[in-house]
Symmetry: C3
Subunit: 308 residues, 3 copies
Amino acid sequence: MITMTKQRELSGELLTLESMSTREISAVLQEAERFASGKSWRAEKEIFVANLFFEPSTRTRFSFEVAEKQLGLQVLSFTGENSSVQKGESLLDTVKTFEAIGANVLVIRHPKNEYYEEIGKNLSIPIINAGDGSGHHPTQSLLDLLTIQQEFSSFRGLNVIIAGDLRHSRVARSNADVLTRLGAKVKVAGPKEWMTGYADTYEHVSLDEALSYADVVMLLRIQHERHDGEMTWTKNDYHQQYGLTIERESQMKRNAIILHPAPVNRGVELASELVECSRSRIFKQMKNGVAVRKAVLKRALEIEKFLF
Amino acid sequence: MITMTKQRELSGELLTLESMSTREISAVLQEAERFASGKSWRAEKEIFVANLFFEPSTRTRFSFEVAEKQLGLQVLSFTGENSSVQKGESLLDTVKTFEAIGANVLVIRHPKNEYYEEIGKNLSIPIINAGDGSGHHPTQSLLDLLTIQQEFSSFRGLNVIIAGDLRHSRVARSNADVLTRLGAKVKVAGPKEWMTGYADTYEHVSLDEALSYADVVMLLRIQHERHDGEMTWTKNDYHQQYGLTIERESQMKRNAIILHPAPVNRGVELASELVECSRSRIFKQMKNGVAVRKAVLKRALEIEKFLF
Amino acid sequence: MITMTKQRELSGELLTLESMSTREISAVLQEAERFASGKSWRAEKEIFVANLFFEPSTRTRFSFEVAEKQLGLQVLSFTGENSSVQKGESLLDTVKTFEAIGANVLVIRHPKNEYYEEIGKNLSIPIINAGDGSGHHPTQSLLDLLTIQQEFSSFRGLNVIIAGDLRHSRVARSNADVLTRLGAKVKVAGPKEWMTGYADTYEHVSLDEALSYADVVMLLRIQHERHDGEMTWTKNDYHQQYGLTIERESQMKRNAIILHPAPVNRGVELASELVECSRSRIFKQMKNGVAVRKAVLKRALEIEKFLF
């Protein structure tokens, strides 16, 4: 008498950007832009969103929380510690619990790459991926895209340099892929050792040389917590060789902008003085993060027909 | 000039099921059934509930939180860490603090058996017990009862087998007592070593033999965190000797159901494949947990006259 | 192209009481008294307050949360652990994040004295200081003042004894300063070793002798967590020499009251039996804490013109 939950067909889930068409992505960005410009929209029914964060997070977790509350949704905020995960409960049983007690949408960050593969087919509510290991982080990618679109209107022909720790980044791959699909010219910069795998399929340039033509310099955070002490540079050496120094920033094109997902390692990827410089869109990215998450949540609620 | 706070007379508190009459229990179950069937009810006044969880919990904590939010109550969520408990503050002083700052109801889980004895008489607001050590867990018992009632309409004459770690369970004793009072025939199964104390007052049967007549098999979680390494079986040995294996499940009566309070130790108390089998009511129990907690909270608010 | 955020001119911030005139303080107390007497007021716009607690707290954190919710504000509750602070994020970047994602007001407790100096000028939203190291705790001072004012109507001529751990207290200095400005006669009591710095500018008396004329005995918590094991008394020795024993309480003036910021070390600063004695205003202080925080938040929202 063993039965299996059936796979869902239409879904408001958002697991990776790779699985979305450019048309879908553009639609989300358009809605996000409306929210960024002040659009107000609230769910008319009582909807519960559970934010399940199995890894530390400030920006993403609270950005989702603000988005949810501004949409009038009820928020359940779960952070792993002080939970039955300490009694050995599996991820699957934890998410099934939230489904059973009434969550309509799950926002999940988890250290395991593609954690959603094992649980998605057992759930009848959508997952919005807030970061899986070194895999994907689609709402971060979307907020990067929104920030670029606000600046340049179109992606076509834009020169985008993605610089730094490509190997451990969960946005670099998605961003490179999606920006290319949207018509931008993507190149990568940084230590050769980190240009393995997918990064190797993009042209590898030196940051110094790329500054003369780059429209967007997208810096990645060095994820010390994922390096296990294998870094061979001092922070200052890295900064001088591969970071965006004050000197390098002065070489950038007139309207070029700087992106960084934050938290910034000040004086490593980026000179501390540049965090709030006029080219920096770092805090604008965070602001856009709320708009993007509202668009993604609204899309999930509409596709899942929770609102009718 | 020392004075004492007076003991309260009428109370919406819920500490144990043992102290409730079967009539009161039936009334709560009836209200819970209305909530489970979609009844909507919201407090018209601003009411604050403080959830104080001094032990890890996912299910119970968030189940209460969903119930509270669906009733339109304001929730304060306290989990011991990052609190003045770290500065050595006593339970009494912590609960008095929440009373002083405006909590109308306290929902408490605490590792100490009958923690409420020392604080209840110093409080003028009701406590809803969300689990005390290995003592009681009345809302868990109520949700078990609701799940059985939904299935069989009445408790009279039902054969209920409570199987497993009876010594450390905080629901087994209450459930055995209340089910007996409600007319069910309760027997216990599991390792002989665990059939001490109150468990010894019930007939001890082997699970294999009981499967032919049991209407309800109520499995208990092995509380590894309370065993201090004294378990003498491997997980698999336990499963084969005392657990509900796939083989045993196939011996169950046609309409018999499986209950488990969760989190499940998959492959120990229960074969992993049976967690979502057609007899399993495990996720329905969780769903019923929200309905039961709404009924208990509404009862507390009404008895305490917070609503007028 | 480096730019700096400009310093804000008019502000709803509350960092220390020292920087407020007695007229401003009286206005806040007057508004707090209205809230304490049942005044109801709710923000008509959606306002987000972020409570950032980098140190453990029960009372202050939840007191702010109740105040915020009673004012109809949206609350973001951040507690340091499970955040990007674990990835080495600075306080400045954390608060800028909350500003970027939409917080309108920040309530901050942080272990560093005057943490706000480095961040205030980079923010365009106000900070309400909920405690900085051993520096200040202005809302605690305000609730002490409100409690005294409710009792004696005026501060002029009142004899206030501040007793205990003056060196590590973040309210003693503010309270001594403000009470003196408001016309009270402040003296200090306790171990000589702790009467250094600002404490040395007040008359040092023995508690025994002061009880005959004191109107208010304001006890301070011994902050074991800030002493690094340098205490030279046992708890009982301290209690007998410097604490408020049952014997000493009986020597107090007819209408004299006891204040303590809590959590109380029962049997150290104060005999356990006195925590709820008729002179004790300890739980009234907590209740007043909510009223005071509502007044401070409302003031911030009005000065910042968030409501129009």
